[in-house]
C-alpha cells in the first residue's frame, strides 16, 4: 500500500516531468543557516561556522541526486536515456543498422512463419472444446500382426457402457449423390451414430444435431449439413430446416446447419471437408446384421470422462477387454490377442506430417540461431570500433554495469526492430506464402496471422536480444582503459578477447550451416530417389475421373444392386468414354484402384482366409483389395508375372477369380505357385475365389513403399460404388471432365462426375509435403550458408584490419605479397575446418534424428557429407579471399605513416 502510493507519486512526477529542486535548495539553505547560527553561538568565527555547517550537512550534490532519484523513477529515466542514445547510435551508422535488422528480420520472420504452421497443426490440431479428452478407439489383433481392424456394433455398445467414456460414436466416410437440382452433386458424406456431435462437443448454428433418442438400426433419414453446403447449394436459406434432400435416391430432411468454422475430424483433407452427416445405427440396411464377430471397417471416436488420465482409462479398458474375452471365447480366439487401444485424436489428426514439421521448426530454429550469431558478431565488431568511446565513458566514471546496460539496450532495440520488421514482412507476404504450403497439410485453412504470432515474434526477438546482446555487451565493456586511450583503441587486451569470441561465433555459424546443409542434402537425395523410383505403373497421359453409384437404404430399390446390373453400366460407360477425342484406352475400377489417391485410410482392408491354412474367424491376415476392369493392368502398364489377367468372360456367374501382387504371393504362399489357390475374402460369406495370376509389384499405395500385399478383383464379378474411370491418350485435361460427365449422364442423368485429375498430378501431390519440407530446408540451408559466409568475411576483414600494421612492416621488410595472402587464407581455413569438424558431429546427430524422413539414403550418406563439407569449405575460402587480397594490397608507406 505504502509502496504503491510512493510508486504512483514517483510515476506521476516522472510522467509529468514534475521536479521540485527548488524546495530542496531552499531547505538546504535554511538548514545551513540554522547550523551556522548555532555554530556562531558556540563561539566560532563566521567563516568557520559556515564551513563546519557545510561539512556536517555532507556532500550536497549526492544529497541532491538522491533527492532527485526519490522524486522520479531513475531506472526508467536511465532506460529512456539509453534508448534515446541507442536510437542516435543506430541512426549514425545506418549501414550497420540495416544489415543487423535485416538479418534478424530474416531469422525471426522465417521462424514465425513456420511457427504459424505448427501453431495451427500441432498445437491446435482439433477445433473442439477440451480436445485432450477426445480419443480414437482402435481394435488391434497383435497376435496376427493387424492393427485398426474395425469394431463391431456389440463392441461399440461395450465401449458406451464401460463408464470410461462420456460418449462414443462410430463414423464412416464416403460420398453421397445429392440430386434434384440442375446437376447431381457428389458430397463428402459421413454416416455417424447419433452421439457423434456430442462427442465432438459442437452444436448446430441452426436447428439441432442428432438426438441420441432417435437412434435407429439403419439411417434415420435426418441430415445435418455444413455451413458451406448451406450457403453454396441453398443460398443460406433460413427456412431450410425440414426441407427434403434426395440423397442416393432416398429422401432425408435437414435438421441442422453446422457453424461456419466447424471442420470435421479425420485423417485426410477429404474427410475434414465433410459437408453432410446422417445418423445411423450401422445395424440395419444397408449395413450387415450386428454380430460381435462382424467388425465394421469404420472409425470410432470417444470422449473420455473428465478426471482419470488417458493411462488410467486405458488400464480400465484393458480390464474390460480381458473380461469380454473370457465371456466370448469363440469370437476372441487367444491367438489373435484382441486389444483395444486409445489414441489421442490430436495425434491421428496430424498423422505423418508431425515429423516433417518438427524438423522444419528445428531447421528454422538453426537459421534463427545463425542470424543471431551473425548479429552478435556485428555487435562485437562495432564494439571494437567504439573502443575509444567506451574508454572515455569509463574514464568519466561510468560503472561497468551501466555500460553493459547501455549496450544491451542498443542490441535489444536492434533485435526488437528486426523482429518487428520480420513480422511486418511476413504480414505483407502472407497471401503469397500460404500458397507455398501443400494442400495436403492438415488444417491448412486454419493457418492465420494473429496476435499470438506477433507476441511470439516479439518474445523470440527479445529473448534473442538478451542472449546474443549480453556477451558482446560484456566483452565490449571490458577494456584496458589506459591502453585503449593511449593507443586509440588499437590492439588492446579487450580486443584480443573479442577476437576470440568472434572466432567462436564464426565457427558455430559454420557448424550450424553445415548441419542444415547436410539435412537439405539428405532430403534432396531422398526426394530425388523417390522421384526416380521404379513405380511399377505408368502414370503418363492417364486421367482419372470419379463417379459414385448411389447406395439407397433399401437394397431392393438399388438399380445397380446386382453385379450383372452394374456390369451393364460399367461396360456402357467404358464404351462411350472410348469414343471421346484423344482417348486410346479406358478402364474402370473402384477408388482403391486409384494409385496413391486414397489418402491414409487403413480401414479398407479385408481378411484373407487361405484354403487349407485353417485360419479361424478373426485370425486371418488382412489385405488391400481393389476392384478393377480387365483393361486396368494394360492401361497402367502393370506386368503379369504368372497365370492370366481378367477377361470379359469372367462375369458374375463364372467362378470368382482374383489377381495378387508379387509381395502377396511371396508373403502368403512362400515358395509355392499361388496360381490356382483358393481364398475367402469375407468371413461371413463363404465364397471361394481362385487366384488366377500374379502381377508385378507397383507402388500404388505409397511411393516410399516398394510393395504391400495387394489383391485385385474383377469389376464384372464384384460390386463397387466409388468408381474411377481411367483414360489414357492425348487428352485435353480441360475438356475431358465435361465430356466424361456428358457421356456418363447420358447413361444415367443422376450420376455425379467429379475429381478429374491426371495421374501425374496425383503423383506430385503425394510428394507435396516432402517437396515442401525439402524446398524449405534447402532455402534455409542456402540462407545459413550466406550468413555464415558473411560472418567469416566480417571476421577475416576485421583480422586484416587489426594486423594492417603488421602486414605493412612485413612488406617493408621484404615479405612476398603471396605469403601475406596465404597467411590470411590460413586463418579462414582454420575457421572453416573447425566449423566443419563441429558441424559434422552435429550433422550426424541431426541426420539420425531425421532418419524416418529419408528414403533410399542412409543417414550417414558419405556423398552428401563430403559434398556439403566441400561446398562449405569453398564458400568459406572464397569469403576469406576478399580480405586476403585487401591485405596483399596494403601499402607499407601510407599505413606506417598514418599510425
Amino acid at each position: 500500500m505504502k509502496f504503491l502510493r510512493r510508486f504512483f507519486i514517483r510515476l506521476s512526477n516522472f510522467a509529468t516531468g514534475h521536479r521540485d529542486d527548488q524546495r530542496l535548495h531552499d531547505e538546504i539553505a535554511d538548514h545551513l543557516a540554522f547550523q551556522t547560527e548555532e555554530n556562531l553561538r558556540a563561539g566560532m568565527s563566521r567563516a568557520e561556522a559556515r564551513r563546519q555547517a557545510a561539512l556536517k550537512l555532507g556532500a550536497a550534490e549526492a544529497i541532491r541526486e538522491n533527492h532527485h532519484a526519490e522524486q522520479g523513477l531513475p531506472f526508467i529515466e536511465n532506460l529512456l536515456q539509453d534508448f534515446r542514445y541507442a536510437v542516435r547510435m543506430l541512426h549514425r551508422s545506418p549501414g550497420f543498422a540495416f544489415v543487423a535488422i535485416a538479418t534478424i528480420a530474416l531469422g525471426v520472420g522465417a521462424t514465425t512463419a513456420i511457427y504459424s504452421v505448427i501453431d495451427a497443426t500441432l498445437l491446435h490440431p482439433l477445433p473442439y472444446p477440451h480436445p485432450t479428452e477426445l480419443v480414437r478407439i482402435h481394435d488391434d489383433l497383435p497376435g496376427i500382426g493387424e492393427q485398426n481392424v474395425g469394431m463391431s456394433i456389440p463392441e461399440l455398445q461395450d465401449m458406451q457402457n464401460s463408464g470410461i467414456f462420456e460418449n462414443v460414436s462410430m463414423y464412416g466416410f464416403g460420398s453421397v449423390n445429392l440430386t434434384g437440382s440442375a446437376q447431381p452433386v457428389r458430397i463428402a458424406f459421413r454416416p455417424v451414430t447419433p452421439a457423434y456431435f456430442s462427442v465432438l462437443g459442437v452444436d448446430a448454428q441452426l436447428g439441432r444435431t442428432f438426438d441420441p433418442h432417435d437412434a435407429t438400426p439403419g439411417f434415420n433419414l435426418e441430415v445435418v449439413i455444413s455451413d458451406g453446403l448451406w450457403k453454396r447449394a441453398f443460398g443460406a436459406d433460413p427456412h431450410i430446416l425440414g426441407r427434403t434432400l434426395r440423397l442416393d435416391n432416398d429422401e432425408y430432411h435437414v435438421v441442422g446447419i453446422m457453424p461456419p468454422g466447424f471442420r470435421d475430424q479425420g485423417q485426410s483433407n477429404d474427410e475434414r471437408n465433410t459437408e453432410l452427416w446422417a445418423a445411423t445405427g450401422f445395424a440395419g440396411d444397408p449395413a450387415p446384421r450386428p454380430m460381435r464377430s462382424s467388425r465394421l471397417l469404420l472409425g470410432v471416436v470417444g470422449r473420455l470422462k473428465r478426471g482419470p488420465s488417458g493411462e488410467a482409462a486405458q488400464q480400465h479398458l484393458d480390464a474390460l477387454i480381458s473380461s469380454l474375452k473370457k465371456q466370448f471365447p469363440a469370437e476372441y480366439p487367444s491367438q489373435a490377442a484382441w486389444t483395444v487401444r486409445l489414441v489421442p485424436l490430436s495425434e491421428s489428426a496430424v498423422g505423418n506430417v508431425r515429423q516433417s514439421l518438427i524438423m522444419l521448426f528445428g531447421a528454422v530454429g538453426l537459421v534463427l540461431l545463425i542470424s543471431c550469431v551473425n548479429v552478435a558478431n556485428l555487435l562485437l565488431a562495432r564494439a571494437s570500433a567504439r573502443g575509444r568511446e567506451i574508454a572515455v565513458r569509463q574514464a568519466l566514471g561510468a560503472p561497468r554495469t551501466r555500460l553493459v546496460r547501455q549496450f544491451l539496450t542498443e542490441s535489444l532495440l536492434l533485435f526488437v526492430l528486426g523482429g518487428a520488421a520480420g513480422f511486418a514482412i511476413l504480414f505483407c507476404t502472407w497471401k503469397f506464402l500460404v500458397k507455398l504450403v501443400p494442400e495436403s497439410l492438415p488444417r491448412i485453412n486454419d493457418i492465420t496471422i494473429n496476435w499470438t504470432l506477433l507476441v511470439f515474434a516479439l518474445v523470440v526477438s527479445l529473448a534473442a536480444g538478451v542472449i546474443f546482446g549480453l556477451a558482446p555487451a560484456w566483452l565490449a565493456s571490458r577494456l584496458d582503459l589506459t591502453g585503449t586511450l593511449r593507443q586509440e583503441g588499437r590492439n588492446s587486451g579487450g580486443s584480443r578477447q573479442r577476437l576470440r569470441a568472434r572466432r567462436v561465433l564464426v565457427i558455430s555459424e559454420l557448424a550450424l550451416s553445415l548441419v542444415l546443409m547436410v539435412a537439405a542434402g539428405l532430403l534432396l537425395r531422398s526426394f530425388w530417389d523417390l522421384f526416380e523410383v521404379q513405380l511399377g505403373f505408368n502414370p503418363d497421359r492417364v486421367m482419372a475421373v470419379q463417379t459414385w453409384l448411389p447406395v439407397p437404404n433399401d437394397p431392393k430399390t438399388d438399380i445397380y444392386g446386382s453385379v450383372p446390373q452394374e456390369s451393364v453400366l460399367l461396360r456402357e460407360i467404358l464404351r462411350r468414354s472410348r469414343t471421346l477425342p484423344g482417348v486410346q484406352e479406358t478402364a474402370i475400377g473402384n477408388l482403391d484402384s486409384l494409385p496413391l489417391g486414397h489418402g491414409f485410410n487403413d480401414l479398407n482392408m479385408s481378411p484373407l482366409i487361405r484354403e487349407g491354412q485353417e485360419t479361424r474367424k478373426n485370425q486371418a491376415p488382412r489385405i488391400d483389395i481393389s476392384t478393377v476392369s480387365p483393361e486396368y493392368f494394360h492401361l497402367l502398364g502393370m506386368t503379369l508375372l504368372r497365370g492370366r489377367l481378367f477377361n470379359e468372360q469372367d462375369v458374375a456367374d463364372t467362378p470368382q477369380i482374383a489377381l495378387i501382387n508379387e509381395t502377396a504371393a511371396r508373403t502368403y504362399w512362400p515358395g509355392q505357385n499361388p496360381v490356382g489357390k483358393r481364398v475367402q475374402l469375407n468371413e461371413d460369406r463363404p465364397v471361394w475365389t481362385s487366384i488366377a495370376g500374379v502381377i508385378a509389384d507397383a507402388r500404388t499405395e505409397s511411393l516410399a513403399d516398394s510393395g504391400a500385399p495387394h489383391l485385385y478383383l474383377s469389376a464384372y464379378q464384384n460390386r463397387a460404388n466409388d468408381l474411377v474411370i481411367f483414360l489414357r491418350g492425348q487428352l485435353d485435361s480441360g475438356a475431358i471432365p465435361a465430356e466424361v460427365r456428358r457421356q456418363i449422364q447420358s447413361v444415367d442423368a443422376e450420376l455425379p462426375v467429379f475429381h478429374a485429375v491426371t495421374l501425374d498430378d496425383v503423383l506430385s501431390s503425394s510428394l507435396s509435403v516432402r517437396r515442401f519440407s525439402m524446398e524449405m530446408i534447402a532455402l534455409f540451408a542456402g540462407t545459413a550458408l550466406l550468413l555464415a559466409a558473411l560472418g567469416i568475411y566480417g571476421t577475416i576483414s576485421y583480422l586484416v584490419n587489426e594486423q594492417r600494421r603488421e602486414f605493412a612492416i612485413r612488406l617493408a621488410l621484404g615479405a612476398q605479397r603471396g605469403n601475406i595472402v596465404k597467411m590470411v587464407l590460413r586463418h579462414g581455413l582454420v575457421l572453416a575446418t573447425s566449423g566443419a569438424g563441429v558441424g559434422l558431429i552435429g550433422a550426424l546427430i541431426a541426420s539420425h534424428l531425421m532418419a524416418g524422413l529419408l528414403y533410399g539414403v542412409p543417414p550417414t550418406d558419405l556423398l552428401t557429407f563430403a559434398g556439403v563439407t566441400l561446398v562449405l569449405a569453398t564458400v568459406a575460402l572464397a569469403a576469406s579471399c576478399v580480405p586476403a587480397l585487401r591485405a596483399m594490397r596494403v601499402d607499407p608507406i601510407t599505413t606506417l605513416h598514418s599510425e
Binding site: K2, D30, F34, A59, H67, E70
Partner: protein, 115 residues
C-alpha cells in the same frame, strides 16, 4: 549513504517518525538536531541524507509537510506526522520492541544456562 547498512536506514525512518510524534511539527534542521542529540553520531556527518528520506516518507504518506515560520521568524518547511504515520509508528515500535527483546534475551543466555 550506500556504506551505511540497510538496518540503519530503517531505524532512521523510525527515529524521524518518533521525533515528530514527541515534538510535534518540526523543520528538517530540528529533526536532525534532535536525532543527533539522542543517537550521537548517526547523523554527526551527512545530516543531508535526511532530506531524501523525508521525501520518501512523505511519498509513502507517513508524514506531511508545508512551509511555515520558525521560532526566530525564519521561513522553514515543517514536517508533521499524519494519521497513517501514527499507525505506522505504533506497529513499528511494537515490532522493534519485540525483536529487541528477543535479541536481548539471546545476549543474556550463557552456556551454563542452557539445559
Amino acid at each position: 549513504m550506500k556504506e551505511k547498512p540497510d538496518v540503519l536506514q530503517g531505524t532512521l525512518a523510525l527515529m524521524v517518525l518518533k521525533t515528530l510524534d514527541v515534538l510535534g511539527p518540526l523543520h528538517g534542521y530540528g529533526i536532525a538536531r534532535r536525532i543527533e542529540q539522542i543517537s550521537g553520531d548517526i547523523l554527526a556527518v551527512n545530516q543531508g541524507t535526511l532530506y531524501p528520506l523525508l521525501l520518501k516518507l512523505e511519498h509513502e504518506g507517513s508524514i506531511a509537510s508545508k512551509w511555515g515560520a520558525s521560532e526566530n521568524n525564519r521561513r522553514a518547511r515543517f514536517y508533521s506526522l499524519t494519521a497513517a504515520g501514527c499507525r505506522q509508528l505504533q506497529t513499528e515500535t511494537r515490532e522493534w520492541e519485540q525483536s529487541a527483546q528477543i535479541i536481548a534475551r539471546f545476549f543474556k543466555v550463557k552456556a551454563e544456562d542452557l539445559p
